[in-house]
Amino acid sequence: MTGQVRGEWPLYEVFVRGKRGLNHVHVGSLHAPDDQLALRHARDVYTRRNEGVSIWVVRSSAITASSPDEKDPLFAPSGDKVYRHPTFYDIPADVPHM
């Protein structure tokens, strides 16, 4: 992620809830001078065809992301725990509702 260029509006990340019952999903980014205008621009850029019922915008600089270099060690703890998945357990086929 790049730092802000002098005189350039800050970068915002945009999240849209497609319809009630769904999570907000990241749809892209845009530049805006402040939070309120970021919301308005997000409406114009990302919801021209009823793509959303709710929008979140957040300054890109406010996001902390995991480093791609640390990907393996970061996610390693979940890699070897197959017993966390239902398919790990053998249940006779004739046992109902399992």
Partner: protein
């Protein structure tokens, strides 16, 4: 590019690390997995993508001009509303693509400056003038039709943000093509004069539309590498052929003649044979000598320059330098920022 501080390495170790990173990158491409912005990538891959995505973004933004010029002259409220929506979409498409380019570490301001100074290009099709209202239909049908042929395969391009932008764009592009074809159908059902307008427009736009796919494969030196990287998935000539084959039955249904005497069905190939556009003209337009190059860039520069005070005022307002707490003025400000992309 990654924000992580590089640890100090001995020269040999650094080269070894680079080889390892390159192998990981190639493996990701090999699995047809996507490259994401913070992944390591070869500098040439990054440069190729910046060039291609920026050129694509600039095309959308410059592409607002030939059609924007007709909004005030469209013959009905229905046609004005459609054209306005289409031009607004082009602005949106430009913004999706600029966002994708920015994830490669280039700033929006740099991209705009490279467009205005002519260091980055946009599609040569937008350097042709829109002389009649029928051109609004022809652009939708042929120019957007060609764009769709180019863009659908790009939804699976190897760089994640570019592919995601293309998916959004392709969803919206279908409206563009259909409204254009419908406009032409309406004119073809009209008077002889209107039918002649449609034919004249198709005659002017056919060859430039074929040029949109870029030079023939044997003159496109970057194609092989772009395909190896999964940036492109089809060659220029493959896509051009696909476009011609799709368009011929549409022209027939419309009742217009495509201006190529060499256009015939080739039973053996199961495809149409067709003539080559004037490639000398293509290179002239790319070099900046097309009918509207200077006008298009001058217009974009004027919009950028005229909008400077709005960008600065909005930043000053955001910083609280002149915040007026008596009322909500954000609505007004929003109206003014949109002037930056207004094209008349």
């Amino acid at each position: 590019m990654p924000a992580v501080a590089e640890p100090e390495l001995e020269p040999g170790a650094e080269a070894q690390l680079e080889t390892q990173l390159e192998a990981q990158f190639e493996a990701t491409i090999g699995r047809k997995d996507r490259i994401e912005p913070r992944d390591w990538m070869p500098e040439a891959y990054r440069r190729t993508l910046v060039r291609q995505v920026a050129q694509h973004a600039h095309s959308e933004i410059i592409g607002m001009q030939p059609e924007g010029a007709w909004i005030g002259r469209a013959p009905s409220l229905r046609r004005k509303a459609i054209l306005l929506a289409k031009v607004q979409d082009e602005a949106g498409h430009g913004l999706y693509l600029y966002s994708a380019a920015e994830t490669l570490g280039v700033s929006r301001q740099e991209l705009t400056e490279m467009l205005i100074s002519g260091r980055q290009k946009y599609s040569s099709i937008f350097n042709y003038p829109t002389l009649s209202y029928a051109d609004m239909g022809t652009i939708g049908w042929l120019v957007d039709g060609a764009a769709i042929c180019n863009q659908v395969p790009l939804c699976r391009t190897s760089f994640g943000p570019y592919g995601r932008a293309m998916i959004r764009i392709c969803k919206e592009e279908s409206f563009h093509q259909r409204q254009g074809y419908e406009l032409l159908m309406t004119m073809m059902r009209g008077t002889d004069e209107q039918r002649a307008m449609v034919q004249e427009s198709v005659d002017r736009f056919w060859w430039p539309s074929l040029m949109m796919f870029g030079p023939p494969d044997d003159e496109s030196p970057n194609t092989a590498r772009s395909m190896a990287w999964g940036v492109k998935t089809h060659t220029n000539d493959e896509l051009r052929q696909r476009f011609v084959d799709m368009t011929v039955p549409q022209a027939k249904a419309l009742g217009v003649t495509l201006p190529d005497p060499g256009l015939v069905w080739n039973e053996e190939r199961g495809a149409h044979d067709f003539g080559q556009p004037d490639w000398d003209e293509f290179w002239e337009v790319v070099k900046g000598n097309g009918p509207c190059n200077a006008q298009r860039v001058a217009h974009r520069k004027k919009a950028w320059d005229d909008g400077a005070w709005v960008r600065e005022a909005a930043l000053a307002f955001a910083a609280g330098d002149c915040r007026d707490t008596s009322g909500d003025t954000s609505g007004d400000t929003s109206g003014e920022t949109s002037n930056e992309t207004r094209t008349v």
